[in-house]
């Protein structure tokens, strides 16, 4: 049974973080350079953490599987980043951002974590502006804002449709500066394949060099994982193709608890699937919902018609109709399920019937095409490239797709997992978004964790540790972990199977989407829990991985990642099955209000479920951390 202490500080909500910062232990400046810290990942969370820890004087080793830190998946975020700056004078505040985020997460996150996130949000914007991030500006030279789903204020900062890119390049520049100064040792093309735990503490990792195939051991006084989300367990998603769960999954197998894996987010505005060869789904930023209106035909018979031939009176702007106060800006889970229901009613559009319209004609009438182009031009271009359609003239077709994972490794208030010395940041942890993440809050959380939380909280752990993990790589734990990795590689390469890795990934994705996607049922999840182990057995018996271990071998890379996804998929379904309620992104058809909204069960499930590995073939253990709301009332989320 893992010990799950949230370590939430005492005191009034608004004082907790300030007080905690003054109370936790510090490492003095001269001692910092004696400590080595491994940071895996250089997305927003990893690069901001690596740069900041190095600035403080720690010796940092940064590992990424990408060929450059700048290519982390964070680069693809389009829409923006939230912060409680209240520059618009529209009534925003730290408390309001806290409340919106907590409510948006359907009351399944820790109050104290979310409040801290809202507090540091303002520092993030300052930091990024100082780095030269070219945020959108008004003519007076001040920062511009837009609004995002789940909020009634305009608090989202953005850089055209490339906010993630610009924030990541900012963090990458800070990281590059520290690499240049020798504060960070950068390892690109380096994939972490195991975590090494020595005497109960995380002390290192095993890495494969993706170019030469060399397997190496790396020790440190603490290990920070910032390896992103696991949405590619669904195969098709808005994630980059290479995003994977291997780092967190292998840490899980070493004892780190994985919390709330069933909290996955489906984004309402993506370009619909076109064929079986499809490798990814492209997101159309949620910001489009500021000016676009979503509709389907009122009558099924109209679904296949050209949208221009459907009279205004025959269109159903269903979000505006069902959720009058939030309208097209209803939160993601709510909007996605509404789209699904429309398609189930047979009113879905496009050749597959799996699509709804996102229409800009009103906005173009109101603002003029140039203004719309200025706001969303690059998104319209992307849409055109993929579909060969002009969205200035005909409405976009969109459909929900897997987009984000709220679940992740369990961490306490200090962002430390239940394995001492193992910290988890960004999308890889479970901490701040509860059962549903609001738009523009992931970038905020990644940078909050990396710039403003870990630099303090890691000191509290390190201050209690003698520096000098250097000598550890000869320990049996390292040898065993390395053998583990080599054995898996050998097993893949010597398997004389018949099917490429992608075959299994596609099949896993179909099982997951069908049984554990937008709507879940007991029967479906039970079926998935039969199908996935069978798929796993087939995978190991029949996967074909060509090539050798000592070269760049992309099939081998994929094989390891898909092996992990299959196992993780099973856990995800198990988590979804045991959580007998609906909340946020986790929708169980058995638990809904008459109007189709989520029906939570706070009494039975007002807790975090943190799964603990029990060994191969064993059912994992479900630990719980109660969510004690001291300051807010868990209420029914309503966006009507």
């Amino acid at each position: 049974m893992a010990k799950l202490e949230s370590k939430t500080p005492a005191g009034p909500l608004a004082d907790k973080w300030q007080r905690h910062k003054t109370e936790i232990k510090l490492v003095n400046p001269a001692n910092k350079r004696k400590y080595e810290i491994i940071v895996v990942g250089a997305g927003l969370a990893g690069s901001s953490a690596a740069a900041t820890l190095a600035e403080l004087g720690y010796r940092v080793k940064n590992f990424v599987f990408h060929d450059s830190p700048r290519r982390a998946h964070s680069i693809a975020a389009q829409g923006g980043i939230n912060a409680a700056k209240n520059y618009q004078n529209d009534g925003d505040s730290v408390h309001r951002l806290f409340y919106d985020t907590l409510k948006g997460g359907d009351y399944r996150a820790r109050e104290a974590n979310v409040h801290r996130l809202a507090e540091v949000s303002v520092n993030i914007i300052d930091q990024c502006a100082a780095q030269g991030v070219p945020f959108a500006r008004e003519y007076g030279g001040l920062l511009a804002n837009r609004s995002f789903g789940g909020a009634q204020v305009s608090r989202t900062f953005y850089a055209r449709g490339q906010t993630g890119q610009q924030l990541l390049l900012g963090a990458y520049s800070a990281l590059s500066r520290m690499v240049g100064q020798g504060g960070v040792e950068l390892h690109t093309n380096s994939e972490m394949l195991d975590l090494v735990v020595v005497d109960g503490h995380a002390k290192g990792i095993i890495v494969r060099d993706l170019i030469t195939g060399a397997i190496t051991r790396h020790s440190a006084d603490a290990v920070v994982l910032a390896t992103g989300g696991y949405g590619n367990v669904f195969n098709l998603s808005t994630y980059a193709r290479q995003s994977n769960a291997t780092a967190i999954w292998r840490a899980y197998k070493r004892g780190a608890c994985l919390a709330n894996p069933c909290y996955t987010q489906i984004h309402p505005t993506c370009i619909p699937v076109s064929g079986d060869y499809q490798s990814k789904l492209t997101l159309m930023s949620e910001s489009l919902r500021n000016d676009g209106r979503i509709w389907v035909p009122k009558k099924k018979e109209d679904a296949k018609k050209n949208p221009a031939d459907i009279a205004e009176a025959d269109r159903d702007y269903y979000l505006e109709r069902i959720y009058p106060s939030f309208g097209n800006l209803a939160p993601r889970d709510v909007s996605s399920r509404a789209a699904m229901r429309m398609c189930e009613e047979g009113r879905g559009v496009g050749e597959t019937g799996l699509g709804v319209y996102l229409d800009f004609s009103d906005a173009i009438k109101r603002l003029g095409e140039p203004a719309v182009r200025e706001r969303y031009g690059n998104l319209f271009d992307i849409y055109h490239e993929i579909t060969a359609e002009n969205a200035y003239q005909t409405p976009m077709r969109i459909f929900p797709a897997v987009h984000y994972t709220m679940g992740g490794l369990w961490v306490d208030y200090n962002l430390m997992s239940n394995i001492p010395g193992l910290f988890v940041l960004g999308e890889a942890n479970f901490s701040d978004h509860g059962a549903n993440r609001l738009g523009a809050s992931a970038l905020m959380q990644g940078l909050a964790d990396g710039y403003f939380v870990i630099p303090y909280t890691i000191g509290d752990y390190l201050a209690g540790q003698k520096p000098g993990a250097k000598t550890l790589t000869d320990r049996a734990e390292f040898t065993q972990a390395e053998q583990n990795v080599t054995a898996m590689t050998q097993r893949f390469l010597s398997n004389k199977g018949k099917q490429p890795v992608s075959h299994y990934h596609k099949r896993l994705g179909k099982i997951m989407w069908e049984h554990c996607g937008m709507a879940r049922t007991r029967a479906g999840l039970e079926a998935a829990l039969q199908k996935i182990p069978a798929l796993r057995a087939e995978f190991w018996a029949d996967v074909l991985v060509p090539g050798s271990a000592d070269t760049l071998n992309q099939s081998l890379e994929q094989a390891g990642r898909v092996a992990d996804f299959i196992e993780l998929g099973e856990l995800l379904c198990r988590d979804a099955l045991t959580r007998e309620e609906s909340c946020g992104g986790h929708f169980r058809e058995e638990y809904q209000h008459p109007d189709g909204e989520c029906k939570r069960d706070d009494e039975k499930f007002g807790h975090v479920a943190a799964w603990e590995y029990q060994g191969e073939g064993q059912t994992p253990l479900r630990n719980t951390e109660p969510l004690n709301y001291e300051f807010t009332k868990m209420s029914v989320r309503s966006y009507k």
């Binding site: 990408h66 830190p69 680069i75 502006a129 100082a130 070219p134 500006r137 490798s279």
Partner: protein, 271 residues
Amino acid sequence: MVAEKPSKKLFSVTLRVWRQPGPAAPGKFVEYPAANVNPDMSFLELLDVVNDGLTVKGEEPIAFAHDCREGICGTCSCTINGKPHGPGHGIATCQLYMRSFQDGDVIVVEPFRAKAFPIQRDLVTDRAAFDKIQQAGGFISVRTGAAPDANSIPVPKEDADLAMDAAACIGCGACVAACKNASAMLFVAAKVSHLGLMPQGQPERDRRVLAMVQTMDAAGFGNCTNQYECSAVCPKNITHDFIARLNRDYAKALFRTRFKPVSGAAAGGAG
């Protein structure tokens, strides 16, 4: 979710692909026929399909770099029919769709070729030299926590917009691959211009441009001879006007250092 579309007209092409087993090994072109090509498929999805076919036949698949598949991460990097990122305009390789080709086409696929980008395998090259250039000076030295309120320094919208035009660079290296001298001037110009257009970037302006240009030269990139093949293939349409800006910044910085030495320029800034 994967519901088949009623069939589009499928067609066939031949891929002529550069295969090279390792950095030191000799490479050669190998032809692969591809049938049942759907015009809505992306070019990289076609490579996926071809690779699965090779795997099943017991051959090693074609190594190619890719990740986001939406033109923003800068990982994909194929020269297609002699043009970096292929026949489209303002797109990366991953944004090229098969509807750009016709039945019977022979499509020649090579890695980005440049001395500073050694081939690692097949279509995958090593572009770490770009990171080195950034590490030398592609930043504003601001420690975490040391920033003033974001609105305390207004930035004229025109400057911010122009900075954003430059900052849109995805670091793919197409500019280098397109240049007959394999120059990285457009890449460096984009970063220098982005930071140089922002008021926050002024204090280190001279040091930055000198350090970045020096590192670029040391990494084996060639000189710019103003042919502007670079901006013609740039997936983000970054204009060569930024190169003129870089040249001006560099000349000014050189001139100013005559009178006042810029310390630590080559050592990566003063921190």
